[in-house]
Amino acid sequence: MAIHKGRGFACINYPIGMNLGGDPAQALVHSTPDGKFMVALSAIDLGQGMKSVTRQIASETLGVPVEDVYVDTADSDTGPHDMGSFASRGTHRVGNAVIRASAEARKQMLEAAAEELEVNASDLDTDGKGNIHVKGAPSRSITVADTAMAAQFKQGRTLAGRGIFLIPPSDADAETGEMTPVTCFAHAALVIDLEVDDETGDVEVKEINSAYEVGRALNPKLVEQQLIGGAWMGVSHALYETTEPQYPKRDHGPQDFNTYLMPGPGQIVPHNIAVLERPAEDAPFGGKGPGEMCANPVLPAVANAIYNAVGIRCDRLPITPEKILRGLRANGGARPQQVR
């Protein structure tokens, strides 16, 4: 028996969103009478943090405290149209729509404040703490709450905004495949260290070191959540998951979580992440969506590390102990590759 250490690498890019466009997102923003802002979306929060990140985007754009913003998803009677949460389109498409809606609401807010302060709206700025002040003269200020009250009850003005972000539908060319993916690309590179048991084919992932470029970490903790959870899912896809162990035969398909395998809490892999931020021009504050791409580099990095450990190319997923053992039998044993 021997345990063989292996190290593998992979790097990827990920196109954000549905690349041929035609996937609009809308947002509506309005203020309460006392200057809190409600954002209505039809985007879905399925755990990725849609409500939280759009709330931060609205707060930043409006220039008001994040506590004064609340995001409501998704009610088709009150929320405007949105295609949905998939293809990492949420941050990018919905985020842009929220910026537009919030920008318009901000404009109304500054005009209302300007009327109260008797200055030009273009001379005003927000401090992000609930105040609007004259640029360069912080003492000449009015609170957002008072502004909203004045707009509502004195000026007859709404502090509201609407936003849509659309990349119009296009197509791929039939002959050359020419197309405009339009969106930005997120990037990642990742090193996996693992061990392979050459008697059973069992693999134990020991460590992950990674670099993810996400445009901008709109909320660093949400990004971290995605990257750690996503890498776990990548390990799971690489080594465990399948609805059809005998693919393409449909026999013995798992029907519960006991036989549909995913690594448990006893298999947490230390994951050292570096987050890089190169803002994308058309993304909200430059942020690309980290949610989907984070699992992708793990799969090939695991396969490459297994080759490094025992000299077997595992080209069919998931890489089960059986596939490794069959490879070892075919090769006449482990053939460890160069130590990296």
Partner: protein, 266 residues
């Protein structure tokens, strides 16, 4: 086909009430799943108010009430040898529910506790007073029409019982294979009447009798166990399932048996 729940004061009465379309409720981990998924093979759930969760010494063995949960086993000092088995059944919530009696009926890939009891040569006491050795209980299990009242486990010497569960998910995963061995004489360097049982290597836990035979009179060294490893799948009936193929199970059974006997890694 509305479900009925019938509750009886004693186990004996519950046993008498069982029939073709009834199932007895132990801890519920098997039965309630079947209920939830609309199993059409029964429409009566039979319960007893008499739930025996006691563990006590009895003669040469330890008697475990069939209603004892895995958590009860873990709480019993008498059953310290079986702690390694009870600990790997399900997660904590399942261990608070799953009973020793119920585990005897768990189909592959479940039934790790039954695998251990088979190696230990336990005796099953039915509610009607019948006593069955584990092996005959398991082989007749499919046709069984009674309720288990208790199980009696012979005492084993220190270090003579070994158990391993092979699962890809840690710490709680279902068995790809489980192995239990009783190794009399292990301390002396010469094995006596060895008993080895495999779980998830057939429709019920099964003994590896050829391997048992090959180990008799041997010591636990690489060379001396080699013949046993070669024949360890004789008499087993591994199959393809969601977790592994028959081929893989046959390939790694000797490896895991070797590790169990020699105390290998993983």
């Amino acid at each position: 086909m509305t479900l009925a729940v019938e509750t009886y004061p004693t186990l004996r009465e519950a046993a008498q009430a069982l029939g073709d379309r009834a199932r007895y409720l132990g801890g519920g981990t098997l039965l309630m799943r079947a209920v939830n998924y609309g199993d059409q093979s029964f429409d009566r759930i039979v319960r007893s108010r008499e739930v025996d969760r006691t563990v006590r010494s009895e003669g040469q063995g330890i008697r475990i009430g069939a209603g004892a949960t895995m958590a009860d086993v873990l709480a019993s000092r008498d059953l310290i040898a079986l702690h390694s088995v009870a600990r790997i059944v399900g997660g904590p919530a399942v261990r608070n529910m799953a009973t020793v009696g119920g585990n005897l009926f768990a189909a592959s890939p479940y039934g790790d506790f039954a695998t251990a009891l088979l190696a230990l040569d336990a005796t099953v006491q039915m509610a009607d007073g019948q006593n069955l050795p584990m092996e005959s209980f398991l082989s007749g299990r499919a046709r069984m029409r009674g309720i288990v009242a208790s199980v009696t486990v012979p005492r084993v010497g220190e270090g003579e019982f070994r158990f391993a569960k092979v699962s890809r998910i840690k710490p709680k995963g279902v068995s790809m294979m489980s192995l239990a061995a009783v190794l009399p004489g292990v301390g002396s360097g010469r094995l006596g009447d060895v008993r080895i049982a495999f779980g998830t290597m057939g429709p019920t836990p099964l003994r590896a009798k050829a391997a048992e035979q090959a180990l008799r009179g041997r010591g636990l060294t690489d060379a001396e166990i080699e013949p046993a490893l070669k024949v360890c799948c004789d008499g087993l009936q591994p199959a393809d399932d969601e977790l592994a193929t028959e081929w893989y199970r046959r390939e790694v059974a000797p490896v895991h048996l070797k590790r169990l006997l020699l105390g290998g890694r993983r």
